[in-house]
């Protein structure tokens, strides 16, 4: 056991002594954090932003005006455009269109249409918020219509239906608009449907993604290169002449790589926390509230990545092969594993494939902790999956990375 730890510590020292380690372990991941902090701002909290919601009123009737009032609310900037103005305006994100005849159709008991149009360049989260706002407005509008119709002069309304709203008493119109202005009697609560989880986005996606990507890249590239070099130099074979079992040597090498991965993760955690707390970067993201689940998850993930590194090292013949292919494999694992974008937005086949990748399970665990706030129990299943994969990679590695006994 002491020899095993001795090998692991020695390997870690040699990895850290490499001049390039400063770049790959520290500068590059932090560069990514800075980059994401710039492009994502302080996160995806919709309450802290204003969603532009321009409305083109092609109807002009009092019910259309009332509907526009229902759309207004905190965090939504509603600007009304006449049909003439709309024809000369380019809406960059999204806009709502109230069709001509909206008021008459409703008064006639018909189905009126309100159209939400999104541009391709529009922010998906903001579009989603606008859509929810539109549904809320529809429900509140219908509620007010029912209240108004129930108390209205039935003769006047029937006449108006027959002769159009121009004949409707202005007092009746005013009464409806007053109802709209009152606090709504209908409460609309909006939540994400389906599994009850939002799609991870902003810092909640990018910071864990950076960690998952850099851990797997560091371990795979550093590990494969070092082990392949050891094969070429003969030091691995020389270790096999020492009074150690073959599996002890492999375990030592795996532990060394696991420690390397954990060092990478620790660097990111500590650096991110310091940068956030000292307000050097504008992020609303802290790891420390999640440490109880984070530590076991990262240990399992790093162990799995290390076992994969040992397995791959057995396949590579030269350090050039190790360097190039480990990069490629690391990038593929990061992309398909959900480190670059949420698994939730990927095609079904990619999500199924993700079930076989350590990066995907690490991301699931991290999202469970950070985005979904499920607590430390969220990492139990990911940890089991990662340990199972680690065992498989290690078993394969013990066959591919032959150090003796041919």
């Amino acid at each position: 056991m002491r020899a095993l730890v001795h090998i692991a510590v020695q390997d870690l020292r040699m990895h850290l002594a490499e001049k390039s380690s400063i770049f790959f372990l520290l500068l590059m991941p932090l560069g990514f954090v800075f980059f994401f902090s710039m492009i994502n701002g302080s996160g995806d909290e919709i309450t802290e932003v204003t969603v532009a919601l321009p409305v083109v009123d092609r109807d002009g009737g009092f019910l259309a005006k009332a509907f526009v009032e229902q759309l207004r609310g905190e965090n939504f900037r509603v600007e009304v455009y006449s049909p003439e103005e709309a024809d000369t305006t380019v809406f960059g994100t999204r806009f709502v269109e109230i069709a001509e005849g909206f008021t008459d159709t409703i008064l006639a008991g018909g189905q009126a249409k309100v159209l939400l149009t999104r541009r391709a360049s529009s922010n998906m989260s903001y579009d989603l918020a606008a859509e929810v706002r539109l549904h809320e407005a529809q429900v509140r509008f219908l509620g007010n219509l029912i209240r108004w119709a129930g108390a209205a002069d039935s003769v006047a309304v029937e006449e108006a239906v027959e002769e159009s709203d121009r004949t409707l008493d202005s007092a009746e119109k005013g009464r409806f608009l007053a109802l709209v202005a009152e606090p709504s009697t209908v409460t609309v609560a909006s939540e994400f449907a389906g599994r009850g989880r939002p799609v991870p986005s902003g810092m909640g996606q990018s910071i864990p993604g950076v960690m998952v990507m850099f851990v797997v890249m560091t371990v795979l590239i550093g590990g494969s290169e070092a082990l392949t070099k050891e094969k070429q130099l003969g030091t691995l074979q020389r270790l096999a002449t020492a009074p150690l079992r073959r599996l002890e040597i492999l375990a030592g090498k795996t532990l060394g790589l696991t420690l390397l991965g954990l060092t990478q993760a620790a660097v990111l955690i500590v650096a991110t926390e310091l940068l956030v707390r000292t307000k050097l970067i504008s992020m609303d993201f802290l790891w420390t509230p999640h440490l109880l689940g984070l530590v076991p998850l990262l240990v399992c993930y790093c162990l799995c990545a290390a076992a994969l590194g040992v397995f791959l090292s057995g396949l590579f013949r030269t350090t050039q092969q190790a360097e190039g292919l480990a990069w490629l494999i690391g990038m593929v694992l990061s992309g398909i594993g959900g480190a670059w974008w949420p698994l939730e937005i990927m095609p079904h086949s990619m999500r199924v494939l993700g079930n076989f990748l350590p990066t995907a399970w690490a991301m699931k665990g991290l999202h469970g902790l950070i985005t979904f706030g499920l607590g430390p129990t969220a990492v139990i299943v990911p940890c089991i999956a990662l340990l199972a994969m680690a065992a498989l990679f290690w078993a394969l590695g013990s066959r591919t990375l032959r150090v003796a006994e041919r």
């Binding site: 020899a3 001795h6 130099l233 074979q237 020389r238 002449t241 020492a242 009074p243 006994e405």
Partner: protein, 307 residues
């Protein structure tokens, strides 16, 4: 200290080592001499547990390698033919790492490292990265790494291959020093002079087999106790039977341009040469010398060791 019995290693159709048996006495140097491809490194690899023998057994200090490989490996120090050191570490860091593998710690490890660095002449370069070392310095460190834990049996696989004479002398002196302290050494080489001057006992190998073994004097005795006569000339018209009738002369080699004979003790070299001239040989060159291991190898295999 080391007993090897009927050791065989096959790689498919190829038999790399074929039924090797020998014994290395404690505190002695046992040499394996043979050309490249003779099976020396394969033999070393089986003794140190890197290769599993196809058949046969290895006992070190009375312990069967197959039954308790870890106990055997504790007694072994292995110096591989290829230099196997961590190039990014310094000499002392390499030694500390290797000592740590064998359980050495603290002051004992430090003093052992200092002692070995002095022994191999690297004390003043001990903290420099090994990658800046010359080939000879790396070879010396390679040797020291195999000695760090004070093994009872040291396996040296061509430790002087490709180095300068000064480094070679240093390595040979280190080998003599550790043997003087009671360590047993199994030494493989294809350098005749090294084998002849260093080894107490020697086995001559070729194609995975031991052709002859014993002390240097015993091996030389196999050639006979006389002088070696080497002739170069044009021998085509003369039948070898013609010269075989000459008294006191034993034919070792006969070809169109070269012939080698052993002139037996008691026979006059001058008389033998006169008889050879008389038999009609056309000679261009004549050499007379005491026989050495090269001649024995030639006698055993029909070719020179350097071929």
């Amino acid at each position: 200290m080391l007993r090897v019995e009927h050791l065989t290693k096959s790689f498919g159709e190829l038999i790399a080592v074929d039924g090797l048996s020998f014994t290395a006495e404690a505190g002695k140097i046992f040499g394996l001499l043979g050309p490249n491809g003779a099976g020396k490194t394969t033999t070393i690899s089986m003794i140190c547990g890197l290769l599993r023998p196809s058949s046969g057994s290895v006992h070190v200090d009375g312990i069967d390698l197959g039954a308790d490989p870890i106990a055997v490996k504790r007694r072994l120090g292995v110096v591989p033919q290829e230099i196997a050191i961590y190039e990014d570490l310094s000499a002392v860091e390499n030694l500390r790492f290797w000592g740590g593998i064998y359980g050495l710690r603290g002051a004992a490890l430090r003093s052992r490292c200092e002692e070995l660095l002095r022994l191999v002449g690297l004390a003043d370069r001990s903290t420099e990265p090994v990658r800046v070392f010359s080939g000879g310095m790396k070879r010396r460190l390679n040797l020291a790494m195999g000695l760090v834990h004070g093994p009872k049996l040291v396996l040296l696989d061509e430790p002087t291959a490709g180095i300068d004479p000064q480094a070679r002398l240093n390595i040979l002196q280190v080998v003599r020093d550790i043997v003087a302290e009671g360590t047993t050494v199994l030494y493989t080489t294809h350098y005749l002079e090294e084998a002849e001057h260093l080894c107490d006992e020697l086995a001559i190998m070729d194609h995975g087999k031991i052709l002859a073994q014993g002390s240097i004097s015993e091996l030389k005795a196999q050639l006979g106790d006389g002088s070696l006569l080497t002739l170069q000339g044009d021998f085509d018209p003369v039948q070898p039977e013609k010269v075989s009738a000459i008294g006191g002369l034993r034919t070792l080699e006969w070809s169109a341009e070269r012939a080698r004979f052993m002139v037996e003790r008691g026979a006059s070299v001058g008389t033998v040469l006169e008889d050879l001239y008389g038999s009609g040989l056309h000679l261009r060159d004549v050499q007379i010398k005491e026989p050495n291991l090269e001649d024995l190898f030639l006698k055993l295999t029909g070719r020179e060791l350097r071929d």
